[in-house]
C-alpha cells in the first residue's frame, strides 16, 4: 500500500500543521509557572473533560481494544469495562480533593502534611516510573503502526519515524506547555471520537442496525473461535493461572486510573474543584461512549475483515481498526483513521512528557534542591523545559529499543505501578488522619519495588517464547500482571509504616481536610 502511504502522510501532515498553529497561538499568554505547568488553571470543566478523554484514550485503547475484540472476542471487551469503571474511583474519591489541595503535581498532595523532601522525592520517583512505562508503550506502538500504515517494515525506517514522533512531541511541549498540550488533546479526542463514531454507525448500518446480526456475522467469519468469540474465556480461560492473571489485571485496571500522574495533573488545569468534577463527568461519558464504539468496531473487524487477514497484517491485532476502515471506506478512510491513530500517540506522549517534566521541575528541583525558593520562579519553567527535552530523547531511545514489544503489556504494567505505588498513598493521605511520612514512603517505595520485582520475575519477561527474553528463564512468579499481590502489599505497607512511626501532625491534617472539602485557599485561575 505504498500509494496509500503518501495519502496517509499527507493527512497526518495536515493534522500536525493545524495543531502546531493552535499550539503556537495558545503559547502567547504562557508566562508564569502556573501558565506553563497548569495552563493558567483557565480551562472549563467540559474542555478539560474532552482533554482527559484525549489523554486517556491512547493507542492501546483504540487500536489495542478493537484488535483484542476482533481476535479474542469478549475478553477484549473486559479491558474496556475495567478502564471505564476505574473512573468512578477518580470521581468519587480523588479528583476534587486533589484539585483543592495541590498545585501542579501529585507530590503536592502527597507531601501536604508530611515531611516535604522525602515524600516529594518518592512521589516524583513513582511519577517518573509510571510515565516512563506508559511512554515506552506509546512509542513502541508508534513503530508497529508505522509498519502497517506507511509500509515501512525495516527497523531503521521505523526508528526514524519514532524519532520524528518524539521530536514533534518535544516541540509541542516546549512551545505550548500545558495549554498547548491540552488543545492538542482536545483536537485529537474530538477527531478520535467522531472517527470511531462514524465507523460504528457505518458497521451497524451494514447489518441493518442489528447488533445480534453483527455478532452472528463475526462468529461466521471466525470459524476457529466460533461461538466462543461472544463469551468470556477465549484468551484468559485456558488454565487456573491465566484465570488468576485475568483477576490480577482487572484489579490493576480498576485501581490504576486514579493513580496515573498524567491524568491527576489534568485536574489542576481548571479553576475550581467543581470544574474538576464536571471534567470527570464529561470524561466518563465520552470514554464510555468510545468503548461502546470499540465493541462494535472489534466485532465489525471480525465480521468484515476476518481474523486471518488481521493476523497476517504487519501490526497483527493492532491493525484491526485500520483494516476495518479500509474495508468500509477505502484508502481515504484508512488515511483519516491512520492520521487519528498517529495523533493519538503524539498527544498522549506529549501529555506524559509534560507530567514527568513538571514533576522533576516542581518536586525535585524547586522544592527539594532549592528548598521551595525557586517555586513559581522562571527557573522552574526553565528546568521543566530542559527536562522535557531529556525525557523526549530518553523516550525516543526507549521507544526504538522497545519497538515490537507488546503494547498492552507495557500499558498494563504502568497501571499496575500506578495502582500499587500511587493509589494507596493518595487515599490514605486524603482520608486517614493517622497517616504519616513513614507510611507514605513505605507504601510508595514498597509498592513500586514489589511491582517491578514481580514483573521482572514474571513470564512476561522470561521463560516463554512470547517473553521479552525468551532464552532466559527466571520466571519465578507465575502471573504476567502483579496487581493482585502488589496492590494489597502496598496498602499493607502504608498501614505498617504508619503505625510503626510516632509522627502524627493532627493540625496539618485538619488544614488539609478543611481545604480539601471546602476549597479554602485553593489555587485560583490566573487572569490575563
Amino acid at each position: 500500500m505504498n500509494g496509500n502511504a503518501l495519502l496517509n502522510i499527507g493527512i497526518f501532515g495536515v493534522f500536525v500543521a493545524a495543531t502546531l498553529v493552535v499550539v503556537i497561538r495558545a503559547s502567547r499568554n504562557t508566562k508564569t509557572a502556573a501558565d506553563y505547568l497548569a495552563a493558567g488553571r483557565a480551562f472549563t470543566g467540559p474542555q478539560n473533560g474532552v482533554a482527559i478523554a484525549g489523554d486517556y484514550l491512547s493507542a492501546a485503547s483504540f487500536l489495542g481494544i478493537a484488535g483484542a475484540i476482533a481476535l479474542n472476542g469478549y475478553d477484549g471487551f473486559l479491558y474496556s469495562i475495567g478502564f471505564l469503571v476505574a473512573w468512578l474511583v477518580a470521581l468519587l474519591l480523588v479528583a476534587e480533593l486533589l484539585r483543592n489541595t495541590g498545585k501542579y503535581t501529585m507530590g503536592d498532595v502527597l507531601s501536604f502534611r508530611m515531611r516535604q523532601r522525602p515524600v516529594r522525592a518518592a512521589a516524583a520517583t513513582s511519577t517518573m516510573a509510571v510515565s516512563f512505562f506508559y511512554l515506552l508503550a506509546q512509542m513502541a506502538g508508534a513503530g508497529g503502526l508505522v509498519a502497517l500504515l506507511l509500509g515501512i517494515t525495516g527497523k531503521v525506517g521505523q526508528a526514524v519515524v519514532i524519532a520524528v514522533v518524539g521530536a514533534l512531541m518535544i516541540a509541542y511541549v516546549l512551545i505550548g506547555g500545558m495549554k498547548g498540550t491540552t488543545w492538542v488533546q482536545i483536537i485529537k479526542a474530538v477527531l478520535l471520537i467522531i472517527g470511531a463514531g462514524v465507523m460504528t454507525l457505518w458497521v451497524l448500518a451494514k447489518f441493518g442496525l442489528n447488533l445480534s446480526g453483527l455478532l452472528g456475522a463475526a462468529v461466521d467469519n471466525a470459524p476457529k473461535a466460533g461461538e466462543k468469540l461472544l463469551s468470556p474465556g477465549l484468551q484468559y480461560g485456558t488454565s487456573g493461572t491465566t484465570k488468576l492473571d485475568f483477576l490480577s489485571l482487572a484489579l490493576a485496571l480498576v485501581l490504576g486510573t486514579a493513580g496515573l500522574p498524567h491524568i491527576l495533573m489534568r485536574f489542576y488545569t481548571v479553576p475550581t474543584a467543581k470544574e474538576a468534577r464536571r471534567s470527570v463527568v464529561w470524561a466518563i461519558w465520552l470514554i464510555g461512549l468510545f468503548y461502546l464504539f470499540t465493541l462494535v468496531l472489534g466485532y465489525g473487524a471480525a465480521a468484515l475483515v476476518g481474523p486471518d487477514k488481521i493476523n497476517a497484517a504487519p501490526g497483527k491485532a493492532n491493525s484491526a481498526a485500520p483494516l476495518l476502515a479500509e474495508a468500509l471506506g477505502g484508502p481515504l478512510l484508512l488515511g483519516l483513521i491512520a492520521a487519528v491513530a498517529f495523533a493519538t500517540i503524539l498527544a498522549v506522549v506529549a501529555g506524559l512528557t509534560i507530567t514527568a517534566s513538571a514533576s522533576f521541575a516542581h518536586d525535585i528541583y524547586a522544592n527539594i534542591i532549592k528548598k521551595g525558593e525557586a517555586e513559581d520562579k522562571d527557573t522552574e519553567v526553565k528546568v521543566a523545559r530542559r527536562t522535557a527535552i531529556v525525557i523526549g530523547i530518553v523516550s525516543i531511545l526507549g521507544g526504538i529499543a522497545a519497538n515490537g514489544q507488546n503494547i498492552a503489556f507495557l500499558v498494563a504494567l504502568a497501571f499496575a505501578v500506578a495502582a500499587s505505588a500511587n493509589l494507596p498513598t493518595i487515599l490514605y493521605s486524603l482520608f486517614w488522619k493517622r497517616f504519616n511520612t513513614s507510611g507514605a514512603l513505605w507504601s510508595i517505595y514498597g509498592g513500586l519495588s514489589v511491582t517491578i520485582l514481580l514483573i521482572v520475575l514474571s513470564p512476561a519477561v522470561s521463560g516463554k517464547p512470547s517473553s521479552m527474553f525468551p532464552n532466559a528463564d527466571f520466571d519465578l512468579f507465575p502471573l504476567s500482571n502483579p496487581g493482585i499481590v502488589s496492590i494489597p502489599v502496598a496498602f499493607l505497607l502504608g498501614y505498617l509504616g504508619t503505625v510503626l512511626s510516632k509522627e502524627n501532625d493532627a493540625e496539618k491534617y485538619a488544614e488539609m481536610e478543611v481545604r480539601a472539602l471546602t476549597g479554602v485557599g485553593a489555587e485560583k485561575a490566573t487572569a490575563h
Binding site: Y74, L78, E227, L230, P232
Partner: protein, 118 residues
C-alpha cells in the same frame, strides 16, 4: 496573576492565623464531611463489589455468561453493558448529591474562612 494572596499556594506559611482544628470540629464542617463520606464510601464499595462480581463471573462462569438471551446477545454482553449503565448512573447520582448537599455547605464554610477575600 489575579491576586496577591494566592501566589504562595498551599504552603505552611499562609495557614498562619487560621485555626484549622477549630474549623475541622465545627458543626458545619462535621456535617459536610459526614455527607461526603456517607455517600462516597458506600458507593465506592458498591461499584467495586459489582465490578468484582462481574469479573469473577466472566473469569470462572463461562457457561453462564454464554447463555443466549435474545438472538446472539448473551448474558455476558448484557452484564458487561450493565457495567456501563451503572457507571453512568453512579456518576449522575454523585453529581446530583454534590450539587445539592455538598456544594452549598462547602461554599458557606469557605466564605466564612476567606472573609472579605474573593
Amino acid at each position: 496573576m489575579s491576586t496577591a494572596e494566592n501566589t504562595s499556594g498551599p504552603t505552611p506559611s499562609d495557614s498562619a492565623g487560621q485555626n484549622w482544628v477549630e474549623v475541622q470540629s465545627s458543626p458545619d464542617f462535621v456535617e459536610l464531611r459526614s455527607r461526603l463520606r456517607k455517600f462516597v464510601f458506600p458507593m465506592a464499595g458498591l461499584f467495586l463489589a459489582w465490578y468484582l462480581l462481574y469479573v469473577v463471573l466472566a473469569d470462572y462462569a463461562h457457561d453462564f455468561m454464554a447463555t443466549k438471551v435474545v438472538g446472539n446477545i448473551n448474558v455476558g454482553l448484557i452484564l458487561g453493558l450493565l457495567q456501563f449503565v451503572s457507571t453512568f448512573a453512579i456518576t449522575t447520582l454523585y453529581v446530583r448529591h454534590a450539587n445539592k448537599n455538598l456544594d452549598p455547605t462547602a461554599e458557606k464554610i469557605r466564605a466564612e474562612l476567606e472573609g472579605g477575600r474573593s
